[in-house]
Structures are given as structure tokens and as C-alpha cells.
């Protein structure tokens, strides 16, 4: 390849790659703020476990986000903390649910039973959700504008290089873990 050709090729390739790797992720995801601030660390330091608020029901269904009622068990009245006051004023007193946004909502055709993983196989919550319980603030949710799926499904890095074990909740991530444990089975075990 002659030098002018190489220069013009590079001059085209570099901006194209930059747009694809740097600009496109910013465009494709929109950021939505959570309705309330929440400090997981403070709650964990009180000795609370994940399952105290994010519970698996008796029939095996996962409740996901805690109900306002479960928050009101401790935070029924206003105090000094502005976040607690906002909770009581906007949700506990009117008796409405908090519209939390999920970072881990799977596509509609995926079926993930928390009971089988957490209760049955004793998989730690942090294996898939990371050190979420140590965070001092809830992250805003980044939602893919095309699919509507949260960014955590793919993972924070578009290239998926140098990622932590818990980052990413794609089908390939599920399969990798199942394969390692000799638990490969049918498509319809996890799809509906």
C-alpha cells in the first residue's frame, strides 16, 4: 500500500472506530435517574442481608424490588435524613409503590428463577449482581434506546474485555457458568 493511500485509509478508519467505540455507546443508551436515593452499604452495616428486602416468595417467585410496606417497617416516620423524609412523604404516607428502575431486567423471553440459583444452588447474589450491597448510592439506569434493555445485561464495557466475572448477564454468560458446572440443559429451561 502506498503512503497516500495508507494515510487516507487511516484518516477514515480512526474516526470511524472512535465513533463506533466512544460515541455510539453514549448515543445508544439513555440514562434514567432512580426515583429515590438509596444507600445499600448503610443497610448492610445494620446486619441486613440481600434477601431481607429482595425476597424469594414461598412459591419460588422472586419479588425483585422491595415493596413500600417493607421500607415502612423501619421508616414509617420522618426524621433527619432527607432521603428518608422523601420516602415517607412521597411513598409511605400516600401508600404507593416506589417506581424503582431495574439494572438487571432480562428480556421478556428469558426466564431466570432466583429460587433455583439462590435457594437451590446457593449462588451468591454478588456472583451476578456484583458488589451492589456495598454501594452508597443507587446507580442511574442506562437503557438501550432500541431494545429497552438495561446496560448491565451487556456489561459496562462495549468490548467486554477485562471485565469482572459478575459483569454482563448475556445468554453466553449464563451458559458459561452452566457449562462449568455441568448443568447444560434445554433451551426451554431458561426461555419462555
Amino acid at each position: 500500500m502506498k503512503l497516500p493511500a495508507l494515510v487516507s485509509f487511516t484518516a477514515g478508519l480512526v474516526p470511524a472506530l472512535a465513533a463506533g467505540w466512544l460515541l455510539f455507546p453514549r448515543l445508544i443508551y439513555k440514562t434514567e435517574a432512580q426515583p429515590l436515593p438509596f444507600n445499600h452499604k448503610v443497610h448492610a452495616e445494620q446486619g441486613m442481608a440481600c434477601g431481607d428486602c429482595h425476597a424469594v416468595a414461598e412459591d419460588g417467585r422472586f419479588a425483585g424490588m422491595p415493596t413500600t410496606e417493607s421500607c415502612a417497617g423501619c421508616h414509617a416516620e420522618k426524621g433527619e435524613n432527607p432521603a428518608v423524609n422523601a420516602l415517607v412523604e412521597r411513598y409511605v404516607e400516600p401508600g404507593v409503590e416506589i417506581p424503582w428502575l431495574s439494572n438487571a431486567r432480562q428480556p421478556d423471553n428469558a426466564y431466570f428463577p432466583h429460587a433455583a440459583h439462590v435457594t437451590g444452588e446457593k449462588v451468591a447474589c454478588a456472583r451476578c449482581h456484583g458488589p451492589h450491597g456495598e454501594s452508597t448510592a443507587v446507580r442511574p439506569v442506562q437503557v438501550n434506546r432500541l431494545s429497552g434493555y438495561p446496560r448491565d445485561i451487556w456489561g459496562p464495557s462495549i468490548s467486554r474485555l477485562r471485565r469482572e466475572e459478575w459483569q454482563g448477564m448475556k445468554m453466553s454468560d449464563c451458559i458459561a457458568c452452566h457449562r462449568a458446572g455441568g448443568r447444560e440443559s434445554a433451551c426451554i429451561d431458561c426461555h419462555k
Binding site: 419460588g60 455441568g182 426461555h191
Partner: protein, 252 residues
């Protein structure tokens, strides 16, 4: 220990449906319950018997009985042990689950080539010619455990596998390893008012289904094809048995 060895320690089942034709009065409750459970949209006006989506069709086979009496034959996916649809799918969107015997269809994987519809000798597969649409307000009544299918893909009965998933989750939550058979009953079986449908694990030798399967009055549709369906039919009438096992029924 290899992956295969470990998987083989999981409990295996052969889920089987037995249809008693003597009891079936053709009311269609099974087909309705199936459509409601599995989020099958109402057929558009322009659809016909070939283009509508039906997972379980109740055929009125008047010609089977020489006396002219109707025999009603509910036909869902026959859940073959040797499924021709699996062999022809270029996408691996259809799969035989050795742990349950269920032939699973994954519509999001389907590219809509319809080879499986050609391969299926029982005509139990449907193609989505149109995007699913529900009348105003009816979307609120959809079953959240079943994903709706888009235009351009094939779908069929999965033996209400979402109920098996729910039963497994309940089992895990209770700290057990195998499901209670009462927790996994497909919608059609649950809805049948004349109890013509029985469902269960054919591997359970003491179960009702295993006993019915051995009964000489039980037969399979188009038995000579060797597809080994796990939907069995029963009739006390030898003419019905002989003709249905030989010819099956065709659509329409």
C-alpha cells in the same frame, strides 16, 4: 466428572398426555384454555384455517366411525420422541429435551423458513402471518410467564413448559430436588370438564399415565411413521383405533 455424567444424575421424566376419545365431547375448552394460557392472539378476520395460530385443535372426525357418529380428536403438538421438526430446523430453534421429553420451540431463534411445518405429520405448528394484536384492554390479561411471539416465526405447544418452570422454582424454594407432579399440569388438562385428558410422567411406573400407556385401548396417531409421540389416544371402539392410528386426521 464430565458434564454429561453430572447432567445424567438430574431426574429424568417422560411427560405424556393421554386423550380418552370416549370421554371427549368436543366442547373446545382445552383449546380455549390453551390460547389464554399461552397468549395466543385472537385470529384476525382475514385469517383462515391454515393461517391462524392454533396450538391445540379439536378435530371433528365424522368419517372415522362407520355409523356416522362424530369422534372428536384434540390434537396438540404430539411431543414426539423422534421429532422430525428438530431434524429439519436450520436454526436449532426446536430442540428435544432429554430430561423431560418435551420438544421445545424457541420462537425468537426461528427465522420463519417453516421447514418444521412441512416436516410435522400432525399439522400442529402455526406460522405467525401477522403481528399479534389484542383488543383494547385485553393486554392486561396476558400471561406474564409466556413471551408473546412476533410476526414471521413458527410456534407450537410446549406442554405448558412455563408451568414446569414455576413448579421447579417452587421446588427449589422449598429446598427439594424434584417437583410435585400436582404442580405441573398443562392448561388443557386442567380445563377439560369431562376429564378426557390425563397428564403425567410415563417413567413413573405406578402413575396413571404409565398404566394407560400400556392399555391395549391406547394408540398413537400415524404410528407407522415411527415418530413415537408422547400424546396417546384411547378409544374403546376398534374401528376408531385402527383408522386413527393408520391415517391420523388432516387439517380442515
Amino acid at each position: 466428572m464430565t458434564a454429561t455424567q453430572q447432567t445424567s444424575t438430574l431426574p429424568t421424566h417422560r411427560y405424556t398426555l393421554v386423550v380418552d376419545l370416549d370421554r371427549c365431547n368436543g366442547c373446545g375448552s382445552c383449546a380455549t384454555a390453551c390460547a389464554v394460557e399461552n397468549n395466543i392472539p385472537p385470529a384476525p378476520e382475514r385469517s383462515n384455517v391454515r393461517t391462524g395460530v392454533v396450538w391445540l385443535r379439536v378435530h371433528d372426525v365424522a368419517t372415522v366411525d362407520p355409523s356416522g357418529r362424530s369422534t372428536f380428536v384434540p390434537i396438540p403438538c404430539q411431543q414426539c420422541d423422534e421429532p422430525p421438526c428438530v431434524d429439519v430446523c436450520p436454526q436449532r430453534a426446536v430442540e428435544y429435551d432429554p430430561r423431560t421429553g418435551i420438544v421445545g420451540q424457541i420462537p425468537v431463534r426461528c427465522l420463519g423458513c417453516r421447514y418444521c411445518m412441512v416436516a410435522c405429520p400432525y399439522h400442529t405448528r402455526s406460522f405467525n402471518w401477522w403481528s399479534p394484536e389484542w383488543p383494547e384492554g385485553m393486554k392486561a390479561s396476558l400471561n406474564p410467564d409466556v413471551s408473546i411471539r412476533q410476526r414471521g416465526v413458527v410456534e407450537k405447544c410446549n406442554f405448558c413448559v412455563q408451568r414446569l418452570q414455576a413448579a421447579r422454582a417452587k421446588t427449589s424454594a422449598a429446598g427439594k430436588t424434584d417437583i410435585d407432579p400436582a404442580d405441573y399440569v398443562p392448561a388443557c388438562v386442567e380445563a377439560c370438564p369431562s376429564r378426557a385428558l390425563s397428564f403425567g410422567d410415563a417413567n413413573d411406573a405406578d402413575g396413571e399415565v404409565a398404566k394407560l400407556a400400556k392399555d391395549p385401548e391406547s394408540f398413537r396417531l400415524l404410528a407407522a411413521l415411527g415418530t413415537s409421540p408422547k400424546v396417546l389416544y384411547r378409544s374403546s371402539d376398534p374401528v376408531v383405533r385402527e383408522r386413527l392410528s393408520r391415517t391420523g386426521v388432516t387439517r380442515g
